[in-house]
């Protein structure tokens, strides 16, 4: 079922192994006209880890995801994804880098004219994966997000939560190393939001996918950071509170006025809120 990837050098593979830097931002600055959206932002996402971006609307959280994908170019600074510098790549060069990236857009951004099967299998079809192999993978990932019975529906026939889960299935179908989530739970009821959070955790812990989650839903952010998924039996999955060492693999970054106002794990974030009125106001 594996989707073939371009072979890369052993040295790079080792560098990008568990704990290696899979996404690096180095003093990235971006402004739209006079408004500075990101001001010298630097951070590193390690392989298999999670970064959660918090911040008010317009703080530049979604912009970071678009920069990683190469949908936007920074004014200054360097961006490395999967060992390659993407900030100076052409659109054609970026297509290859995007092969290892998956993105879950706000509201899903599913293609209206295609069925769930075609949406989820879109990237596989683009990569010329044989139909039977692609179809089996589509069924597998739809089973993973528990939507196998909706395979022949159109996106308009799905609920908001189901659309997000199909979007997650589409993003993971080609087995990317990195998944980017743009407000995956915004506008969803708490029960549905938890199912989306659990999909994110499952992908991270069971499929070893590095992830960046942009959200302003604090409950979901802490849930993703402080829980882990474990295999139970052959097909079952169990979620439980992560031990401190595991929870440390999820880091929070809070953006404020284009700069990083906080960077650290969930415990640090709770501690710093006592001293920082802005973070306290945001978290309360």
């Amino acid at each position: 079922m594996a989707v073939e990837r371009e072979p890369r050098s052993a040295l790079l593979e080792e560098a990008l192994g568990p704990g290696g830097p899979i996404v690096v931002f180095d003093k990235v600055t971006l402004a739209f006209d006079e408004k500075v959206i990101l001001n010298e932002i630097s951070f590193t996402l390690k392989t298999g880890h999670t970064k959660v971006f918090l911040g008010a609307s317009g703080a530049g959280k979604s912009t970071i995801l678009r920069l990683i994908l190469g949908l936007l170019k920074p004014d200054e600074g360097h961006i490395f994804v999967n060992g390659e510098r993407v900030d100076n790549m052409t659109e054609d060069e970026l297509m290859a880098v995007r092969g290892d990236l998956g993105m879950v857009f706000q509201e899903g951004a599913l293609f209206d004219s295609l069925t769930v099967r075609e949406n989820v299998g879109y990237k596989l079809a683009e990569q010329r994966v044989p139909y039977e192999q692609a179809n089996a993978r589509v069924e597998e990932v739809l089973g993973f997000v528990r939507l196998a019975e909706f395979i022949d529906r159109k996106p308009s026939e799905l609920s908001g939560g189901q659309r997000r889960r199909v979007a997650i299935a589409r993003a993971m179908a080609a087995k990317p190393r990195i998944l980017l989530y743009d407000e995956p739970t915004t506008g969803l009821d708490p029960i549905t939001a938890i199912t989306i959070d659990e999909e994110i955790i499952k992908l991270r812990d069971l499929e070893a996918v590095s992830s960046i989650v942009v959200t302003h839903q604090l409950r979901d952010a802490f849930y993703v950071a402080e829980h882990m998924a474990l295999r139970e039996g052959r097909d079952g999955v169990r979620f439980e509170r992560a031990p401190a060492s595991k929870a440390d693999e999820a880091e929070f970054i809070m953006l404020r006025d284009g700069r990083i106002a906080f960077e650290g794990n969930a415990t640090d974030l709770r501690d710093v809120q006592k001293h920082d009125p802005y973070i306290e106001a945001f978290l309360s």
Binding site: R66, L69, L71, E91, D92, M95, A96, R98, G99, L101, G102, M103, F105, Q106, E107, A109, L110, F111, D112, Y122, K123, E126, Q127, R170
Partner: protein, 253 residues
């Protein structure tokens, strides 16, 4: 004024960039054959009814009006000559193009605009697909192929409509009408009628794609883009028609 000028220049630059990228995509892979077939159907077959009606009624009204004018000179039998020259050289290509601009240009702008505001275009790029190859090039190729085809049909139907009116209302014999149609046409006229629709088809579809892909501002923006696409492509049809006519007259007559 300076801001308006700068914004217009930026639009022109982005339009030319899109056209350049579409041009490059015609000679490099991947090539989306299925999307081209779909667009041939949407743009060509989908516009058939409106083009048939436009062509037929234009031919009919042209015969009626020219009959009245030619009567003043006792030259009613020359109706076919006037209708054929007008339909083949000007009215066929321009009216077909304006109809296609209204139907197809607006549809393309609305469809691509909706895809932009719902992040589907960004999703396409994120999934490794170039929207120019997948969405723009198939539409431009379909426009290039189908607008000349629709123009031929429109002209043919227009001549038939004029024939019916000439026989039934103006009491001119069928043979006289068709003889007049043929003698009134020069080969240069036919070439002009065939060449112009390629330019007009290209302009309509490329403007629709450009305006659609530049949509911003949610559903209101989609509405604005749809209107802009129709206005811009209709005006462009008339301007390009003038320029191409002038060039062809210079080259062929």
């Amino acid at each position: 004024m300076v801001e308006w000028f700068k914004a217009s220049l930026l639009e022109l630059q982005e339009y030319l960039r899109m056209v350049g990228r579409a041009g490059r995509a015609t000679v490099t892979r991947p090539f989306y054959y299925r999307d081209i077939i779909e667009q041939l159907d949407t743009i060509g077959v989908g516009s058939m009814t409106v083009v048939l009606l436009t062509g037929m009624f234009t031919g009919m009204v042209l015969a009626l009006q020219s009959g009245i004018t030619l009567d003043q000179f006792g030259a009613r039998s020359m109706v076919g000559r006037l209708v054929s020259a007008s339909m083949v050289k000007e009215l066929g290509p321009v009216l077909t193009a304006l109809m296609v601009a209204g139907r197809v240009g607006s549809g393309i702008a609305a469809e691509l605009g909706s895809m932009v505001v719902t992040d589907q275009i960004a999703a396409l790029r994120a999934l490794g697909t170039d929207p120019i190859r997948k969405l723009v090039l198939p539409r431009i190729l379909a426009g290039l192929i189908m607008v000349p085809f629709l123009t031929c049909i429109s002209v043919a139907v227009g001549l038939l409509g004029a024939w019916v009116i000439t026989m039934t209302q103006l009491q001119v014999a069928s043979g006289v009408y068709w003889n007049s149609v043929v003698t009134g046409l020069y080969i240069q006229d036919v070439w002009m009628g065939l060449i112009k629709p390629f330019f007009l088809g290209f302009v309509i579809v490329s403007i629709g794609c450009h305006v659609g892909l530049r949509t911003s501002g949610g559903t209101q923006g989609v509405g604005r883009s749809t209107t802009n696409a129709v206005v811009a492509s209709s005006v462009a049809v008339l301007v390009v028609n003038f320029l191409v006519t002038k060039a062809l007259i210079f080259l062929m007559y």
